[in-house]
Amino acid sequence: MSEAFLSVHDLHVHFPKGPAAVRAVDGVSFDLAAGGALAIVGETGSGKTSIGRALLGLHPPGSTWGSIRLAGRELAGLSEEAWRPLRWRRIAMAVQSAGTAFDPVYRIGEQIAEPLREHLGLPSEVAAARVDMLAERVGLEPRHLRAYPHQLSGGEKQRAMLAMALSCEPEVLIVDEPTSGQDVLSRARLIDLLRQVRDEKGLSLILISHDLAAAAQVAERVAVLYAGKLVEVGAARRVLESPRHPYTWGLLNAYPNMTTARDLRGIRGHSPDPSDPPSGCRFHPRCTQAVDLCRQAEPSLVQVGGRLLACHLGGLQTLLQARDLRKAFSSNGQGERVTAVRGASLEVYEGEVVALVGETGSGKTTLGRLLVGLLEADGGHVVFEGQDLAAVDGRSRKALRRRIQFVAQDPFDAISPRLTVAEIVREPLDVQKVGTAAERVEKAHRCLRAVGLEPGPTFLSRRAHELSGGQLQRVAIARALVLDPKLIVADEPVSMLDASEQAKVINLLKEIQNERGMGLLLVSHDLALVRKVADRILVMRQGEIVEGGPANRVVTRAEHPYTSALLQAAPALDWEVGQV
């Protein structure tokens, strides 16, 4: 393979600020092939603009080090005078704030022509002709060229900025946040323009943005930046459709877009302080699967299955994996066997909500219980956190029990009518003999508060029949939380509640799941409901999983006819549809 056109290695950009330095970019390496398009995505403060500016040598001397090789020539460490002839001619940048990128006292056309006349030394007429061509290419009219910056709209200035950046026909074009702050129509037009520019031969493109959709549409590769370091690099579509790094995953969950019906989820914790980043892996304070190693050592960017990942654990963990599960029951002693589950396979990843939907009798409840270990499978395995449930001995199994918990459909059935609330919630702790008695009480109270119930003495001494359905289901959830499980399987947790209670409990589950980074397997018949919380949907019919995939894909482009039927029949507030 030929050497990459632009090769950045171990780039650092530190700004001194009092005693500590702001470590904007802390060891970033990436390659850009000739004619390629790379998107660097990250949130504000991740350091992406600093990378762009470093590629033009715009930072104060002494703040940048590392290697920047363009077509074999080393650019890092060049003096200001050595940089000058390279700027704009070999590498150009369309900056983030097009609104303030232009000098307010000169006309747009003049400013676009300026590098042509001053930098390339072209005579005025030639420069003017070139400017006209550039304007046409980006969709600007002559009147825009004659205007002053304050007379142009944001979108027009963006395009003018692009024209100016292309004026000297650079080999590398960096575009910094072209779509931020624009209305959707301008944004779409701009993305189209960028794609046209990208397709021109001889031009390599670097798109810096927090707009993930734009990144997917314009770039073929994407590099995800967090706190000055790269965490995931790979093919754009694949990374953004199925992210492997916990941060990328969180980012996608938080990104508002038209395809996901599911509510936005933020990433817990706060953005790191660039002058004092966390030790070890910078994401570890906010990562739900962090282990001790993550706090101690920084992970390096390594190849994992076709991408580059910086994670000690190799990316998002698979919490639960089921292969070929089978279960049959004998009905009423007549010897006739009813196969409830026939050959079902599925995965649940770290921090994910998976919904298992199907009609009554589809086998979903059985499957749920199989996964938790409440029932023994006739065939197949269930692997949880790398351990085969069937293969574990008694001791380990007891430990395992703490990590997976179950929430049943009917709380009145799942909870003993004789126990008080306090005893109910404490029961798992008592069984597992966790901590001292006082600690167990404290833990129970915390979990009650987590589900929105205040552990006052009156409430704690209540019994099941004194509570409403919604309250009792919450108590059941609190009971499930008390052992700090990593995965909760909830079987129709809200189907017996009123609509308003349903909404509250479902939201509660989602909140807790997000906060604690738990996996949640939601078994339900209510497609409309799970659409609001699920990341992936599995459709089950007569014991088999007939379809599974990202929630938005399943809901909008179902592949199996059964799924389509289910979707059609799902309750909709549109009285024209669903004439069953």
Partner: protein, 325 residues
């Protein structure tokens, strides 16, 4: 622009009216006192007294006085000086050129130096030169102009004897050629102009420097640098060009300051300008002269304001738009 002109006309009218009303409204009726044999301000010279009576017309109704006053201004009749027994108009015409020479020179020098040195200091902000110049400017801009003038007078005039101590030119001199005349005027101009320049420079340097520092931090400066432009182009065509805008906006105020300073300097150096004229008039309670000079100065300042406004709209395309509306 039209609205600005009308605003200025209004201000001019207010100035005229103020000039007219003030002496007539004040307690003690200073004008009548001039004609009252009992008062200490009584003017003894009959000719002058007659001229005063005619000019002020105190026995007439107020409105008639006002009309006569306005007519006088238009025809150039500003009354007669009590002390010098000359038409005020003539006096002003004789003294005005000297003041214009002084303030014009000082303002031009201070502006040019302020722009050049201020932009350099901003370019090298934080350097020792920048900090020294800034501190020096604060002192120069705040020190009373007559104190600085006094120091210069003593140092260059008295101690070193390089420059004449007073006046616009050597009294009773006759010149061999216009060049010699000009040289003499110039020699007398140096210290007053130098003093005023230093005082104005203090303020203008800071203005240019601080504005320029602000401009240098703007995004478009970074883009200009990224475009691979030469340092000179960045400094002059982009940075200074933008810093010029607030500078011009303040020019009118600085012109006003220059005149204020000129009053002190002319008094100190006995320079035959309008400042000196009004100073001596005040001492002699020569009201017509005081009023006349006030009017002339107000007119100059208003014109300067108007010019600065016009210049501003030419320089800043954002303003030109508003005007067109």
């Amino acid at each position: 622009m039209k609205s600005r002109i009308s605003a200025y006309v209004v201000t001019l009218w207010i100035v005229l009216t103020l000039n007219f009303l003030l002496p007539r409204l004040l307690p003690g009726d200073p004008l009548s006192a001039l004609l009252d044999p009992e008062s200490s301000d009584y003017v003894f010279d009959a000719q002058v007294r007659a001229a005063l009576e005619a000019y002020y017309g105190l026995d007439q109704p107020l409105l008639a006085q006002y009309g006569a006053y306005l007519k006088g201004i238009v025809t150039g009749d500003l009354g007669r000086s009590i002390q010098l027994n000359q038409p005020v108009g003539e006096l002003i015409a004789a003294h005005l050129p000297w003041t214009l020479l002084l303030t014009g020179t000082a303002l031009t020098l201070a502006s040019l130096l302020g722009l050049l040195v201020g932009s350099q200091a901003a370019w090298k902000r934080g350097s020792t030169t920048d900090r020294l110049l800034t501190a020096a400017s604060v002192v120069a801009g705040n020190a009373p102009v007559y104190f600085m003038g006094t120091m210069l007078l003593i140092l260059l005039g008295a101690e070193l004897g390089w420059l004449p101590l007073a006046g616009g030119r050597t009294p009773f001199a006759s010149y061999s050629s216009p060049l010699a005349a000009a040289a003499d005027v110039l020699a007398h101009l140096v210290m007053p102009a130098l003093t005023l320049t230093l005082s104005l420079l203090g303020i203008q340097f800071l203005l240019v420097r601080n504005n320029m520092v602000g401009v240098l931090g703007e995004d478009f400066m970074l883009v200009a640098r990224a475009k691979g432009l030469r340092q000179a182009r960045l400094k002059w065509n982009h940075a200074l060009r933008n810093a010029l805008l607030p500078f011009v906006a303040h020019l009118a105020a600085h012109a006003s300051l220059a005149i204020t300073g000129a009053v002190f300097i002319e008094t100190l150096f006995q320079y035959p300008g309008m400042g000196r004229l009004i100073f001596e008039a005040v001492g002699a309670r020569d009201y017509p002269v005081i009023q006349g000079v006030f009017l002339a100065v107000a007119l100059i300042v208003l014109t300067a304001n108007l010019l600065a406004d016009w210049l501003n709209t030419r320089l800043d395309p954002r303003l030109a738009e508003e005007v067109g509306r």
